[in-house]
Amino acid sequence: MVYFRLIIAAACPVLATAVLYLLSRKTALGRWSRTRSQLLYGLLLGGVSVFCSEFGVPAYGVIINVRDAAPLSAGLVFGAPAGILAGLIGGMERWFAVYWGAGTYTRLACSVSTILAGLLGAAIRKWMFDDKKPSWYYGFAVGLVMEVLHMLMIFFTNMSDVKQAFTFVKGCAPPMIVANAFSVMFCLLTVTLMGKERLRVDKEHKQLSQTFSRWLFAVVMAAFVITSLFTFILQNRVSISDNTALLWLNIEDVKADVGDASDENLLRLTRSVAQDIEKAGGVDNSLLYTISAKPGNDFSEINVVGEDGIIACSTNRDYVGFDMASGDQARDFLVLLEGEKTEYVQSYQPTSRNADTYMKYAGVALADGGFVQVGYDAARFRQDIDQEVVGATRNRHVGETGFIIICGDDSAKTVVSSPHGGEEEGESLSVTGLSLEGLEEGRRYEAEVYGVPSYLMYTVSEGYYIIAVEPVDEVLFFRDLSVYVTVFMEIIVFAVLFALVYLLIKKLVVENIHRINGTLAQITGGNLNVSVDVRTNEEFVSLSDDINSTVTTLKGYIAEAAARIDKELEIAKVIQSSTLPSVFPPYPDRTDFDIYATMDTAKEVGGDFYDFYLLDENRLAFLIADVSGKGITAAMFMMQAKSILKSCAEREGDVARILAAANDALCEGNDAEMFVTCWMGILNLATGELTFASAGHNPPVIRQGGETRFLEFRPGFVLGEIEHLNYRTGQLTLEPGDEIYLYTDGVTEATDAQLQLYGNDRLLAAMKSAEGLSAQEVCRLVKADVDRFAGDAPQFDDITMLHLRLLPRDKITVKPEMDSVERVLGFVEDTLRKAGTPEKILVKMNIVTDEIFSNIVRYSGAAQASVEVAVADGEARLIFTDDGRPYDPTQKPDPDTTAPAEEREIGGMGIFIVKKFMDRVDYLCRDGRNILTLTKRFDPPTP
């Protein structure tokens, strides 16, 4: 019943906690402000504490309660303020509860403990568990420690009477500790289960503090058990040996008292007998009988021993003639004959004559030699000193509550003296519940005396059994006290140590490690400019310094590596740019087209590239491409793509098939998962027919017949991603003077400081403004426009462009031979006629062309010759260039035009015609070339 009620009381905080937790989770309570909710939790659990206090269970003379569980749970489960509030309510109520019947004995201890419980719960949650609910087993530990503290408080507040305090604690400690500890534990357990958390979180790695705690717990537990056991054994031994000594001391005392009383009595009688004998003047047996019969002489025997040590006369005739030297007991009396002693008393013991007869003798020397010996038999002896014995023992205490029992050595062991006095005297020893049967004299035994477990010891002296008795409880009081206090103190010390180590490790190690980890995370994140600075103790200072120096070294290496990479990138850039055609003009002898390309990489090496090559004399392949990504990998992929495209171009005739073949080749073994966009065109220079295809690349800008626009054409998929793709071929025809501008998205996606894109519109506008410029000038103009737009904004992508211009056909370059004369003449005539040259002039121009070019063919030995036609400002100009022998026709003397036909110099006639027909003839020899310029005004100068 007692325990049932205790369980009910212990269940109250659990129930209250569970209900509050549920409410906070499922109802509007969860949305209350912290102050409000903490107030509510504190008030309600304070109330539960009061209830548990009033619902105490009387047992062992004390009230057992679970008052501390509610404030503890409030602090641990709901938060520090709730715990403190609940503790205050519980503690205050206990303080004032004395007015309605609560005990005053533990008033201070209980009030303070309850307030402490609230504080403890709050502190533990706040400082040890970072304001989180601890695991359930911590609940048990905290409950246990709190109650131990409570018990110690009871001790400390009642130090004036340790015995009563201990009795109190001994009674209530075990049930209160267990009840409170389990109550708190179940509070946490219930909440954990309701929160659907796992009871035991198995982590792969234990926390440092946990490992420490575990080892600390193991070591302290072992120390705790050993110390407790040692204390117990030691205290037990000490108690028992103290008890043994105490019992024996009392026995000895009583024995001595009894002996003294008995000796004194017998000596007094013996002295009076000796006086009587000496008064009589002579001695014989009858005198002895007479003396023996005197009132008060209640002894049993008188012997008179002569100087020879032989009994001369006696009240026992049989003894006359007995030689005192014949037995140990008798011989002791011979000291009286030696004259040193005049009196001698012997203890009650068997006689020399008969070992079965116990006698006590005393002897007094007689004035005229010899001595008189008086003896008691058992009955007489006891009769004589019982009163003395009772007086010496009845009020004697063994320890505090122990006592002495004396009984006779008769068969019934009649009680002579006992703590219960007269009512037991004369009764058998069995009234005390004690039997000495089988017990050895002088040894300590445990038995129940008057129903109380006690230690006892006895001895037999002067015909009495002297029994010393001390209750076990009294004997073991100090042992139990020591063990309890030791255990309690150790629990407190362990708890404090545990908490301290936990906090210290958290503070000194874990938090520092977290700080270092935080910094390391920054460092691994790439920020090498942070430094670790944990300087709380030497180890961390050393660690911090080590990390910092590692980072510094690392920084050095990285800088070194960066420098090396920079250098390598520089080299890569050189290699990369060396693979791109970079000598302009690439075909100086071609007069039919003008091509220029440029690449500005954002990083040292980029993924863009351009390329162009003549597939045969009249077919020019040109392309621009952009590899995904940047840096070395992009550059390497670019090299591969470039050479694949070229080899495909040499193999395949059609531009779409070139891209398809290149795509398949690039897909093969493209582990880097890179791709290329590409726009490729093949221009037939003879016909102006352009075929082109696009692999996901931006549309080029085309200028056709003076109109500038994007060449929109549905592009195919990028190269290098999916095999077996088909590309479509676009086709158009370019006329001389038409242009096409290829570019990568680095142009259109260049950004300014406001992150605006350069865009198609700006590009188109720039291209329009570049009309009539050479390919190189177009590229420069667009790049300059992009740079102006971007301003100081960094360049994010490679800027690559290629411009191809079909030159207007006003110049012809040929191998000077007869067969090319007609071509040259045709070219000059066509060009001049197109330019609107008057027919009259045209004929003259034809004639001079024929003259000059035929001369070059015949005489110059040139490998190449060209004629450029220019019509402007009302005049036509022909520029003949050849790489033959230097020859200045202007220096040739005019032929004699008056000579008869037979003598005419035919050779000089051509030059002469030229001079005559042209307005100006200019000769220039430059770079090993003859440059002859003929100028003819359309309107002849007015005379």
Binding site: M818, V821, E822, L825, K840, V843, K844, N846, I847, D850, E851, F853, S854, V857, T897, T898, P900, A901, E902, R904, I906, M909, G910, F912, I913, K916, F917
Partner: protein
């Protein structure tokens, strides 16, 4: 250039049309060399000739030299452009232009 020959006894009429210049001159030269045997009167009809260059003149001079030995040579129908060449080169003095 086209060459049209008309033989009338020892009188040969050669009609030259187109251009007489470096490329075509050897053609006329060859034609005349092959035809002048026994010709006493050569008439060069230049009414269809566009123009003439020094290479053409050289052929004419060669023909004139031959005809000086065996008869006469007359150039007819030359246009302004051709005549200008003749004038400039002083050919009017050597050639007979009608």
């Amino acid at each position: 250039m086209t060459i049209e020959k008309t033989q009338n006894g020892t009188e040969l009429t050669v009609k030259v049309a187109g251009r007489l210049e470096t490329v075509t001159a050897p053609q006329l030269d060859a034609e005349l060399k092959a035809s002048l045997e026994g010709v006493t009167a050569l008439v060069l009809d230049f009414s269809g000739l566009d123009y003439i260059s020094s290479a053409g003149l050289r052929v004419l001079f060669a023909a004139q030299k031959t005809m000086n030995r065996q008869g006469s040579m007359v150039i007819r129908g030359a246009n302004e452009d051709v005549k200008e060449v003749f004038e400039v080169t002083g050919s009017m003095e050597i050639l007979t232009i009608e």
